[in-house]
């Protein structure tokens, strides 16, 4: 409890006044300040509930994923962000929580997810990108039927569908994803809602309205839902309670068993003697509103800005082929 020594002119000696007394004194002495609430009386924001991310190193660094908040993981292609996403999905589904993945680019690989341990029985996969409208749908069905009548090859319809899908503008996919995330968050009950904007161009990712991110943040607030976004660059700005940037180095194994990082040497002559071993992913906290990890807390305790010192952790992933 805040207390202060104030000299009482009536008594002529200092008395111990508590903050309530000071507030009363100030409001009496200065009527203009009567409506002002002292900072010491402001409600303390409760510490959020944390959930493991599936990456122990990340949990040690940031304390895990924040329930009721947005966690943003950004990084370039092949930086390990999707591996983190799968790890988070696997951890959440193994906690028997219902999860949803809104896949903007329809890039989710079920085989990788199964290898990562994702329980598909608890995963809702929303694949964006299909141009869909009732009338067009009806026309497509009509065309399909006419082709069947005429004995045309099915591949023609398939090619047309692929063409239509390719024609779907990237902006429409993102729009679909934002609507789907909105619906999922409003529905509630999901332990983790992930939005994968990984393959969206940087320009478009930055064009996602800030109001959308604010709406998402408000929707998950005070709920046990983790909102997880994978983006190429930081997009959500202040709406993200935890912003992580990841980058990786690819490591291969040679036939001799020696591990080496790609980029440090030129390619070997014999390609079949090498195998992709995995990624060495380095994660850095760019912003953390709440920090559960002890190391990170020392730097970013309740500070909504970038830590003064780089806080990083590294982990490794393993390619499916290596078993």
């Amino acid at each position: 409890m805040f207390s202060s020594w104030v000299c009482d002119p009536a008594l002529g000696r200092p008395v111990d006044w508590r903050c309530e007394d000071i507030a009363g004194f100030v409001s009496t002495a200065f009527p203009k300040l009567a409506g002002v609430v002292p900072a010491s009386r402001l409600e303390v924001r409760p510490a959020p509930e944390m959930a493991p991310s599936g990456v122990p190193e990340l949990d040690a660094l940031a304390g895990g994923l924040l329930r009721g908040h947005l966690t943003e993981v950004c990084g370039a292609a092949s930086s390990g962000r999707t591996s983190m996403l799968l790890a988070a999905l696997a951890a959440a589904t193994q906690r028997q929580e219902a999860c949803a993945l809104v896949d903007v680019s329809d890039a989710f690989d079920p085989a990788s997810a199964a290898a990562a341990g994702v329980d598909f029985g608890r995963l809702l996969w929303v694949r964006c990108g299909k141009t869909f409208s009732p009338q067009r749908h009806r026309d497509t069905e009509k065309n399909k039927k006419s082709e069947m009548r005429e004995g045309h090859d099915f591949s023609r319809a398939e090619k047309r569908a692929k063409f239509q899908r390719a024609l779907a503008p990237e902006g429409a996919k993102t729009e679909q994803a934002l609507r789907a995330v909105d619906l999922l968050l409003q529905s509630g009950g999901f332990g983790l809602v992930a939005m994968d904007l990984g393959d969206v161009s940087v320009k478009l990712a930055r064009r996602v309205p800030l109001t959308s991110w604010f709406r998402f943040q408000r929707a998950v607030e005070n709920t046990p839902t983790i909102l997880f976004a994978v983006t190429p660059v930081p997009c959500a700005q202040n709406c993200a309670a935890l912003l992580l940037r990841v980058q990786s180095s690819v490591v291969s194994r040679q036939s001799s068993g020696k591990l080496s990082a790609i980029g440090s040497h030129l390619s070997e002559k014999l390609a079949h003697t090498q195998i992709l071993e995995g990624f060495r992913v380095e994660g850095e906290i760019l912003r953390s509103r709440f920090s559960g990890g002890r190391i990170a807390r020392s730097f970013t305790s309740r500070v909504e800005r970038k830590p003064v010192q780089s806080v990083t952790a590294a982990f490794t992933t393993k390619a499916v082929r290596t078993g």
């Binding site: 370039a76 292609a77 890039a107 009950g189 079949h272």
Partner: protein
């Protein structure tokens, strides 16, 4: 407690006559059996007068010129029986379907509605007669007495209480052994043995000189029991009208359906929603009255003979179609399958609206038929410590709305197929399973989350309990392992200073379940490759500008093939390649289709 019995004599014949009223003035015989061996199954009174009896072969009937022969019709019999049952149920809610030709009604409490029992009996007979069936109706204080009287006396019979034995006394003994007709020809061994038993008893009674029920009722009970056993005693009780039994009323399965025929065809879906809302509320109220819910809703829309103009809301009547004048349009049917039993008309209405928006009927709607398949409502109470799961009603609505945005085949749970073919998965309907045990989830919450919302005292207690029992699930990738080099513990019990040692590559810690994910390009991106020393050296891709340049590193090829025994065989070589991009090194999966020869970039490792 009075009972009324409706008995239709010669029921198979009456069922046929009901369909063909013109034969009422003629002698009619109903035949049963295959064509060369057909026998008379039932005859009417006129046919009986000219000497036609059941069991006679068809050959003997050829001499009877006026006799109308008809095959037995189970459809006509079922229809007649259903009509009789419906008629009986308009009088009494408690009707026993004793046999195809016999119905038993409980008349208790009906005096205030329909008058005294004799009046009810007359009204019953009149109503049945109006339906084209001539029936005997008997009223008695005893159910079995009413049945015997209806089978034995023609017309309307009313037996006052206490006079059963006296009134039944004039009936022949045969009436005790009359069996109701079944809908199908019965050749079951049980029926045959029962008939044999009845014939044996009848023969015995005949030898004793017992011809009517009065004689049977007068026999000494003990002596009858010694000679005929309990069966004989029961027959005597029947003859005396002294049996007592409960009625077994027919309980029609409740049907939850509503139909509405519109005065003018509906063109827009919005006004349809108002009509559907009313129907759904009525059905749900009815379901709620039976304490039921539904898991399947069937909406049938009868469409007008017209079609929608695709561009707008106008309806164009096509009128008479000369090529197919008698063609009737199939009703437009949509079936909503729900994963859990629900009983919320608002949810149903929204689901139907979303479904009709995605699949419009395509023509004006004239008639709406809505059916709900009843099921028992799910009684599930979630535990306090179970992980969150979406509410079924909200989830269904959300899935339907998302399906309206991205397409119904683009929402669901993936299911891996047993194949190495690319895209070897199916999309299933998303229906999350219920969390299995509360204990397990509680363990994970406490182990992994120091801020789980539990009281700190409770947390300490559970943690200490877990520590003492060493029940931490180390097989789970979520739980910290003992060999954690950083020394961090989510329980907060380890007080060692956390030294954040970055794990060296190859260390199993932390990486045992972290999989390098593959991001799939759908569809795969076509690329132009330059081959040097038998391996890809340079890549060019017109669709993705970033994906071009010298290949820094190559691994492969990994050859696979399959389905060569089917029409759609496939064979491919897979390469892992690293390409330098602006943001760093990107790793791709490159595929060469061995059948077509083209190079495709299938995805990127991320």
């Amino acid at each position: 407690m009075p009972f009324a019995c409706i008995f239709v004599p010669d029921f198979p014949v009456q069922a046929v006559l009901r369909a063909e009223p013109g034969l009422r003035s003629q002698p009619v015989a109903v035949l049963e059996g295959k064509t060369p061996l057909q026998k008379v199954f039932a005859v009417n009174e006129k046919a009986r007068r000219i000497g036609v009896e059941p069991g006679m072969p068809r050959l003997q009937l050829e001499e009877c010129g006026d006799l109308a022969l008809r095959p037995r019709s189970s459809l006509a019999e079922e229809d007649a029986h259903a009509t009789l049952l419906e008629c009986a149920q308009t009088f009494s809610p408690r009707v026993e379907d004793d046999a195809c030709d016999t119905l038993l009604l409980d008349l208790a409490g009906l005096e205030a509605l329909f008058g005294p029992p004799p009046k009810i009996a007359h009204d019953l007979r009149r109503r049945v007669s109006e339906l084209g069936v001539e029936a005997n109706v008997a009223v008695a204080a005893n159910a079995d007495t009413a049945v015997l009287a209806a089978r034995g006396f023609s017309g309307v019979t009313v037996i006052p209480e206490g006079q059963e034995a006296e009134r039944l006394g004039s009936l022949p003994v045969d009436v005790l052994f009359m069996r109701g007709h079944g809908f199908q020809p019965s050749h079951s061994p049980d029926g045959a043995s029962e008939a044999q038993d009845a014939a044996r008893l009848l023969e015995i009674l005949e030898r004793w000189g017992i011809h009517d029920l009065r004689s049977l009722a007068a026999l000494p009970e003990v002596a009858l029991s010694e000679r005929l056993g309990q069966r004989g005693v029961f027959l005597q009780q029947l003859a005396r009208g002294a049996t007592f039994r409960d009625l077994v009323p027919v309980e029609e399965p409740p049907v939850f359906e509503k139909t509405i025929e519109l005065e003018y065809p509906l063109v827009l879906l919005e006004p349809l929603a108002f009509v559907l809302s009313q129907l759904l509320q009525e059905i749900c109220a009815r379901l709620a009255a039976y304490a039921l819910a539904t898991q399947e809703l069937t909406l049938q829309l009868e469409l007008a003979d017209g079609h929608f103009d695709d561009t707008g809301t106008d309806c164009v009547e096509t009128g008479f179609h000369p090529a197919q004048p008698n063609e009737t349009r199939q009703p437009f049917t949509r079936i909503l399958h729900l994963p859990v039993p629900l009983l919320d008309p608002k949810v149903f209405l929204k689901l139907l609206q979303l479904d009709l928006n995605a699949n419009p009927p395509g023509a004006p709607i004239r008639k709406i038929h809505l059916t709900a398949k009843p099921t028992r409502p799910g009684a599930a109470q979630s535990g306090l410590f179970l992980p969150p799961s979406p509410e079924p009603e909200k989830l269904e609505l959300t899935l339907a709305r998302i399906a309206g945005v991205v397409g119904s085949d683009h929402v669901g749970s993936p299911e891996l197929l047993d194949t190495h073919r690319r895209e070897g998965f199916n999309m299933q309907r998303f229906a999350p399973r219920e969390p299995e045990t509360a204990a397990k989830s509680t363990t994970s919450v406490v182990l992994l989350n120091g801020k789980s919302g539990l009281p700190s005292q409770a947390k300490r207690k559970i943690c200490s309990c877990l520590e003492s029992e060493k029940v931490a699930d180390f097989s789970s990738p979520l739980a910290p392992r003992n060999d954690n080099p950083s020394g961090l513990s989510f329980c907060g019990t380890t007080e060692a200073a956390p030294s954040l040692k970055l794990p060296s590559f190859g260390n199993a810690q932390g990486a045992h379940n972290l999989v390098t994910a593959l991001r799939i390009f759908r569809p795969p991106v076509r690329a132009v490759l330059t081959i040097r020393d038998g391996k890809p050296a340079h890549i060019m891709c017109s669709k993705r500008e970033t994906m071009q340049g010298e290949i820094l590193w190559t691994a492969g090829p990994w050859r696979s093939s399959g389905d060569w025994w089917e029409h759609e065989g496939w064979a491919r070589d897979e390469w892992d390649i690293a390409v330098q991009e602006k943001s760093g090194i990107a790793l791709y999966r490159l595929v060469r289709n061995l059948l077509g020869g083209e190079w495709l970039v299938e995805g990127s490792y991320d």
